[in-house]
Every structure is written in C-alpha cells, then in structure tokens.
Subunit: 322 residues, 2 copies
C-alpha cells in the first residue's frame, strides 16, 4: 500500500493532473491514504506563492482570478486555483464540471482548477483547503489562487492560508458592504477596486484612502489600491505588479515568518482536534456510542459536558488499542 | 466559588438581564466558570423555540428580526436575539452598544439583544452561539432569534442550531445570489421574500416555486413562501403564522427529534475537540510547545502529522496530571 502511495506522490511531484485530482478527492473524502500522501509531499511544499482573493458576492472574484491566472500563465508559470466560495459559479458548476466560466483556460494543462464543496463537520473547510493547497504546491505550481467569499469565520481561516490577500470592492454596493469593509480591512494586503469603470469609483477610492489613513500600519505596509475592470482585462498587469512588490517586501521577512508560524499554530490545533474526534468515533460501536450520547443530551437526560467526558474516555481507550 | 455560580444560575433562571449579560461575556471570554454555569442551566433548557434568520447581505435580516421580535413581544412573549452576522449593523455597532437599530425595543426589558463578535479559533462561533442560545433559553425567553449571514460553513453550523430556519431573499439581486440560493435551499424551512414591493417579486417567487417543485420534499414539508416588507411591518403577521404552522407540524415530531439528535452529535464532537485542544496547550509550557512545533513545521523541519502526534501526547499527559 505505502509503495503505491509513494508512486502517487511521485506523480504529483511531476505535476500529473490526474494524480493531483485523485489526491484532492482523497482529501475531500477523508480517505485514510490522504494523510500518508500529504506526509510524503510535505517536504516538497513551501514553494508556491499563495494568493487569497476575497470579497462580497458580486464583486467579480471569479473573473479576476481567471485573469490573474492568465497573467501568471503568460509569464510561463503554472497556476493552481481553488474556489471555496459557496456563492462561486464553480461551486454551482461542480455538477457540470469546474471549467464552465474558465473557458479560456479549459484546454491549458498549466492551469489547474478545483472547486471545493462545503463539507460536513469533521475538520472543516479551512483544513481541507489547506491540504489541497499543499498538494498544488507540491505539484509545482508557482502560484496558487484561493477564491473565497469574504464573510464568516471559516472564510477568514481560509484567507489566513494565503501569503498575500486581495480584497475586492466594487463601487456602489450600498450600506451592508460598507459595514463589511471594516472586517475585510484587517486582512487585506492589497485592495482591488474592480468594476472601476462604474460610477462612484473615485468616491470609493477616496473612502478607502481615508480609512487606510486611520488604520494602524501593519508591519510598515500600507495596502496598495489597484483599479481593475477584470471583464476587460484592465488593470491586471498593475495588480500582478502590486503583488510582486508585496512579495518582494514580505517574501522572506521576519513578519512573513511570524505569519507562517501563526498559521501553523492554528492548523496544528485543528488537525489535533480532528484526530481526537476521529478516535472518539472509531470502531464498530463508536458511532452508536455517539448517537446514544446525543440522544441522552437532546432529551436532557445528561448534560453536554458529562457526555463529552464519556466521549473523550472512548478516545483514550481507542488510542491505547491503536 | 460553586455557590456563587449557583446564585448566578438562579438569577439567570429568573431572567435577570445583567446576569444573562455576564454569562454571555463569560462564554465569549471562555471564562472557566462558564462550563459550570452551563451545566447547572442545562436542565432548564429546551423550552425556547429557536428561529434562525439567514440571507445574503442587503436582504434586510436585521429589520425583519426586529419586526419579528416586536410581533412575538406583542403576544406577551420574551424574546432573545443573537446577531452573529459579521455584516450586521449590530456587529459594527458593538462599540457603540448593541441597540442602535433596535431603537423601538431599547427600553423593553422583554427583549434581550446581543451581537456576537467573530472570535479566535478554539471552539468557533457556532459553539459559542449555541451556548449563548442555551443561556437565553434558561432565562425564560419563549423565542430566540439568531441572525446570521447565509454563507460559509460556520454560518451553516449556526443555522443547524435553529428549530426553524428562515431564508431571506430579495428581488433583483443578480447572478451571485442566484447561485447562493442553491445552498440556502437545503436549509430553508420557510422562505421570506423581503422587500417584496420591489420589481421582480413575482418573478422571484415563480423561480422559487419552480425550484421547490424540483427539490425533494423534506419529511413531507414543502417550505412556505411568505412576502414581507419588513421596513413597513408588512407580512410579519403572515410570517409568524407560517412559523406557527411549521412548529405545529414539527414541534414534537420524530423528524424534529432526529434533527435535535443530529444537532447534539455535531455539538458534542465540537466540544470534545475543544476540550482536547485546551488540554494540549495547558500548563506554563503548553503555548511554548505549540509555538515550537508550529515553527518546526513552518520551516519544513517536521511534518504536520508528526507535530500533531506530539501535541496529542501532551494532551494525554495533561489529562493524567488533572
């Protein structure tokens, strides 16, 4: 078994698309071989530059990601794209195939596109996305683009995966987006004013500038603001330029290292939690025990904390058996 | 200590607002007394009817929640409101006090409003929100309304807390919202067409009806569609009527019981994971050990799975000490 996993890892390191696809499916399905595979691939990771692209529904994230990918591809790079935006057209299109809106790149083997479904509880989307990014990294993609809608804790966790985070804004999206800006403000390394040919672009940029004046500088970096019209491929070169400047500034800095460590702290905790839960419900009677406890709590026959203690006792026993 | 926690629990059971507020703060701060408190309150819970209200930014969730609360209050009920929408005006207003937009109810002690900040990793927002709902339940609120923006895994987890989930839609919100509908479809018990005085309300309702025809019935329930103009308090009585019919149908049904058990399954697993993580980083050297492991992984000196094994070994040792 492990010999075949090593062959699989070799194929991924060689960038074979089918092997990469199988790995992502294994990660999503929580296939037992995924961990073995990721352990083998891990030393080959850390080379991709990961770019997070986030913003409210309707800001044109998918189109921008498409154009960015095209730009990097034009420079001879390999590009991996992960769409974890539940409102993304890829997600809806997962049934019909991922490449519906990426028609320009559908036949280009240098661009790999995968949309992630929102899966059940154990592990969460951020963990899965992180593992998929590792696979795309090991497969030799110089750039990995992660698209996510910019709201919710899970999305913020996903954005933490990125080396550089782009926050998209669009002129004239009203009050709620104004409110959202505050939260997005903190995670933006670069602001993208997309659909900037619309009315209100100047006002939005002025508002952003005013907010940035008030915001504390993060490690001496003031986020650049770049205007784009992604549908017309306008401003994309300027954007890759701004990303390159950010990377130049932070690529090997102590600030970036601190961010990486913080990222792995969070991720190790998530992995550890998941491992314990897997132990707790392992074995033929594991699921039955969990169901019984859930039933007792639902009927108020037992409090949740007593139930958790029983569950953890099971996990400890399972570990001793292992 | 435990005597004072019992006094605190007594005050909550009596519905004392300050005691409830303190409890929520303790839950958010992961104060050690929160678990003791919740264990004492747990037998007093299970009486509230919990309504989840979700939808994209701009659909008018806050206003609708405000009007629903007013409606239930008018029938003599006590109402608790939890706003966990990161785009919600309450969240932005947390600095200025929670009640900014709830001016009609600011002086009414029968309505308790609390906005939840998006907090750090351990436990997650869904767990915290669940515990806060238990406190509001124990405090004697006949209805608990949870407002959340309808995207992201965390939001879906939060919605799973509810006995009945309302999904808000608004005419004319474009492509991305069309895509979002698919995900929201599955969690909706009732659809609310808010801002239904706008152009396109008939078309949206027809589209929804068409989708509902195609969707498999859930436990024999076809979600009702209710039109509202929350800002003008229109359709709110119809909505409380639809909620009452849903409750009548599912309140004590085997389907509802199955949902409750499923809910507690998820929640017990989350609590168990959190308990283990707390153990793993407990003690004076716990944080240091986690930082060291994160650093080793970030520099590719160790793979994440090896690091997790070390972390869990720490948790086991911590447990034996306890």
């Amino acid at each position: 078994m492990s010999a075949s996993v090593e062959t699989w890892a070799e194929q991924i390191r060689a960038g074979e698309v089918r092997a990469v696809s199988r790995a992502i499916t294994a990660i999503e399905d929580r296939d037992a071989r995924a961990e073995d595979l990721l352990r083998r691939l891990f030393p080959n990771t850390g080379k991709s530059f990961v770019i997070g692209v986030t913003g409210a529904p309707g800001t044109g994230k998918s189109t921008l990601v498409d154009r960015l990918a095209g730009g990097y591809r034009g420079q001879g790079n390999h590009v991996g794209i992960i769409a974890v935006d539940p409102t993304s057209p890829y997600t809806g299109g997962a049934i019909l195939g991922d490449r519906i809106r990426m028609q320009g790149h559908a036949s280009d083997p240098g661009i790999f596109i995968r949309s992630m479904a929102t899966r059940g509880f154990l592990g969460g989307l951020a963990r899965t996305t992180g593992d998929v990014a590792l696979v795309l990294d090991a497969a030799g993609n110089e750039f990995v683009l992660i698209e996510t809608v910019g709201v919710g804790q899970d999305e913020v966790d996903i954005v933490r995966l990125a080396d550089c985070t782009l926050v998209l804004l669009v002129p004239g999206m009203g009050d709620d987006v104004q409110n959202m800006k505050a939260g997005l403000m903190e995670i933006a390394d670069i602001f993208v004013l997309n659909k900037s040919d619309r009315d209100g672009a100047n006002r939005l940029e002025a508002e952003l500038e005013a907010m940035l004046q008030l915001a504390p500088e993060r490690d001496g970096w003031k986020p650049e603001i770049v205007r784009t019209v992604a549908t017309e491929n306008k401003g994309v070169d300027e954007l890759t330029g701004a990303i390159a400047r950010y990377r130049e500034r932070f690529g090997k800095s102590p600030e970036h290292e601190a961010r990486e460590i913080e990222h792995w702290r969070t991720r190790l905790l998530a992995l550890a939690g998941e491992a314990v839960l897997r132990r707790a419900v392992s074995g033929a009677d594991g699921e039955a025990a969990l169901n019984r406890l859930a039933q007792e709590v639902a009927s108020r026959g037992k409090d949740p904390y007593a139930a958790v203690r029983e569950l953890l006792a099971r996990a400890d026993v399972a570990e001793k058996r292992a």
